[in-house]
Assembly symmetry: C2
Homo-oligomer: 488 residues x 2
């Protein structure tokens, strides 16, 4: 069956859902009608994507068109087209698109394969060894890459792909199950864990610090070392568990990769000395890592801070200038253009759901409801954490989610009696754990999902399971660890 064609049943379900919410379900009090209508379009879009009514890019074109034509982003009639297209100017979108384009170089120059073979020659006795090697690399990079997208999608993902490729496991020819699917899931699920472990491991963590300080009248001020110390043990435990959980959930067909070590060493030998193009690419990766880690800012002060997307633009520019990549390679990189279109549509809709107050209304309604339930602080915190975590099904950015909900949810919890430091650390961890859930949860997701090793169903299943595992690890290991540290 043609994967590009319209599938009638999911398309009709998506349309029916949208029409039902738009015309039949009454708009709740406190919600602007246009916000509700945007929710109808958003839910219809997500339903069409989940039901694979059409390719996700085609659905996105329709979604952007409907937002522009209906003008739901504003209560005033006016140029809704600017709102509808706003996602395309979002730096996060381009950080993703550019990362995909840059990572093309690892394939083209052969450097990716070289790194892959090197990893296998070191850790490749078993598939689990390869998985832990990936997780370890993420962990080492995490303190210095505030862009979790650059880390998991730009650096680690091409390496993971090279390893899978060297085992003959490709996304679309029925061989994904050999090892590629498992490694892609490990690659992705390392990202939420490492993001939770350092203030500098994902962009919005400093926001969390700010919200906690504000809500407690600056009584709790999370420093870089407090955070790192608090998250160290639960983070390590989660990182040790995750590859095992995925191994059980989606066992790779290739388990013993013993012969692969000799094979990899032979391949490395056959590759010969490193080429000029590989050296330039390594140099550009080092340059990107320095900029993404904020080194110019550390040395020369905040005036010299470099935006991660600007860094990626200049990195791609260097690869084009040196001929490592050619412009035609970029134009032919369909997955980059595809991702730019569909991620722009989702980020745009999520942004306006927040701007129009729908998310705020949702949070407040819930807070009021909890008070009426008359739970103790344990029950209240449990409920708040669960709602905060799973609300991320409606977000395409952790920054947007944290901005919209962290303040209210944190304040509500302390008001209901939660220990401030314990609850702050837990909610901080959950702010990264929520990345596990969907293929649009954070910038890393569309890159790894887009490479095609994992189906939507597998992605969401693994995401849900690991959200539960991670939450329990942080609750139990974290709770005890923080008690020992005297934090509560």
């Amino acid at each position: 069956m043609n994967p590009n064609a319209l599938r009638l049943r999911p398309a009709l379900i998506a349309a029916a859902l949208t029409l039902l919410l738009w015309f039949v379900v009454p708009v709740p009090t406190g919600v602007k009608p246009n916000a509700w209508h945007l929710l109808a379009l958003f839910i219809g879009t997500i339903a069409a994507i989940i039901g694979k009514a059409m390719p996700i890019g085609a659905i996105s074109v329709l979604a952007i068109a409907l937002v522009a034509l209906t003008g739901v982003t504003s209560e005033q009639p006016g140029p809704a087209i600017a709102d509808a297209l706003s996602g395309f100017a979002n730096p996060l979108i381009w950080l993703i698109g550019l990362s995909i384009m840059i990572s093309r170089g690892l394939l083209k120059t052969g450097l990716g394969a070289r790194i892959g073979y090197y990893f296998i020659s070191l850790f490749g006795r078993r598939t689990l060894g390869v998985a832990y090697a990936l997780g370890l690399s993420e962990l080492v990079l995490a303190p210095v890459t505030p862009s979790n997208t650059a880390r998991g999608g730009g650096i680690m993902h091409p390496i993971m792909r090279s390893i899978a490729h060297s085992f003959g496991s490709e996304p679309n020819d029925g061989t994904a199950g050999k090892i590629g699917r498992y490694l892609a899931l490990v690659n992705y699920q390392s990202n939420p864990i490492t993001s939770a472990m350092f203030i500098t491991a994902t962009a919005p963590n400093p926001l969390v610090v700010k919200f906690v300080a504000e809500a407690t009248g600056a009584k709790i001020s999370l420093t870089w070392t407090t955070w790192a110390l608090a998250m160290f043990l639960p983070g390590l435990a989660a990182m040790l568990l995750m590859p095992l959980v995925l191994y059980w959930l989606y066992p790779p067909e290739i388990k013993d990769t013993h012969n692969a070590r000799d094979f990899a060493r032979e391949k490395l030998h056959a590759l010969g000395p490193i080429k000029r193009s590989e050296k330039i690419l390594l140099g550009v990766f080092a340059y990107l890592l320095l900029l993404w880690a904020g080194v110019p800012e550390w040395i020369f002060g905040s005036k010299y801070a470099v935006d991660p997307t600007a860094a990626a633009l200049s990195g791609l520019g260097l690869l084009l200038l040196t001929g490592v990549l050619e412009w035609d390679d970029i134009l032919a990189e369909k997955s980059a253009w595809d991702t730019i279109v569909w991620f722009s549509a989702l980020v745009m809709m999520a942004t306006y759901l927040n701007k129009l107050g729908l998310i705020g209304w949702f949070s407040k309604t819930l807070q009021g409801g909890i008070v009426h339930l008359g739970l103790g602080w344990v029950g209240a915190v449990a409920l708040l954490i669960v709602v905060y975590l799973y609300a991320h099904y409606f977000f395409a950015s952790t920054t947007a989610h944290i901005t919209a909900m962290f303040g209210a949810f944190y304040a509500a919890g302390i008001a209901l009696g939660a220990p401030p430091m314990f609850y702050a650390l837990l909610l901080a961890a959950v702010s990264s754990i929520m990345m596990t859930l969907t293929h649009y949860a954070t910038g890393t997701s569309p890159i790894i999902f887009g490479s095609g090793y994992v189906t939507l169903g597998q992605w969401w299943t693994a995401g849900f399971v690991l959200s539960v595992v991670n939450l329990l690890v942080w609750l139990l290991v974290g709770g005890v660890w923080w008690k020992l540290l005297g934090y509560w």
Copy 2:
């Protein structure tokens, strides 16, 4: 030679120009340093494009990176990345990109070839006949297509390509000179002329009406019919001359196309009855034409106005829904992605040159200079018109140009004694004539230039020659016609 590779000499010239302007040439009084630095980047970018230092898309990536890294768009240090990427959310950019994607359907379904053969069977005795048929079609569409890009790039260009294709004249295999280059130039140069002829033939014409009314204290109010009547004779004369001028400048190798009429009739016969996909495509074009012409607005009022880009999005959505185009066709349409990138870079830079006051400074300096020259009104108007027209080498949008300069240049002219109605009509015409000049002058330009029949040198030469021809036609034919009408 690899057209993707870096050509060192033009690259060094472009870099030297930028460095010279940035560091050596002193910033003129009244200009903000960052505006001057942006000008340095802009001129370097244009020099690199003209010198073909790299493919235009690669140059654009570097230009956007440099704008983002240097932060020239703002006097304050801050997130310049948002400014640098702002072009990607510009509706005009997407109208262009979407038009390219939609026009793919004419190729895929064969409807384009059918229309081409039909035109040839009617007018195809000589190449000149085909050229006039193209111009006539543009003229008929002009009053109802306020988007000159949709008209010249979205509707007419695919037809022109089909005709060239049917004569075996392709962009990149050495056969462009047979007939394709000539027809592409006629296709493009019809656009400025038709745009000048009706208030509703290009988006910024209503702006001109507004500026003229403001500058004359509402004494001159250009209605739709006044405009159309005033422009009718000079417009018709320009449209009759233009194909002849291009015929002399870039003579097509195929001149007598007599046999082609029988050939075309045979081909039409062989094509058989019109297919389902062609009918849907025709329906979508009719739908787009209705929306672009503003029909919903006329019938239901301004509340139901549909933005042309929103219309194009929904048109593409309809083609995807009906399977006439597939998402993979869109991703494979490299020229669309290429155009979106490079046009975004140029529009972004031109927008900020204007926002930072560089264009305003330039206009005012000139005005002051003219007063000092002590010319009569004829000399002053001549100078103002020439500067206004050729300033368009620095603009990637007529709207931006008109917004930035029309008011000042019109007011200066009347202040220096020009007859208000004569000068208003002349400056209004020049506001469209300036589209002739470059491959980034208006949205139509990158579409037709991007198809590759015309080299950069040929495009700019034809553009300059026709800017002079059109200006003289409007000055002489218009001047006499407007005298007869009693307008001055």
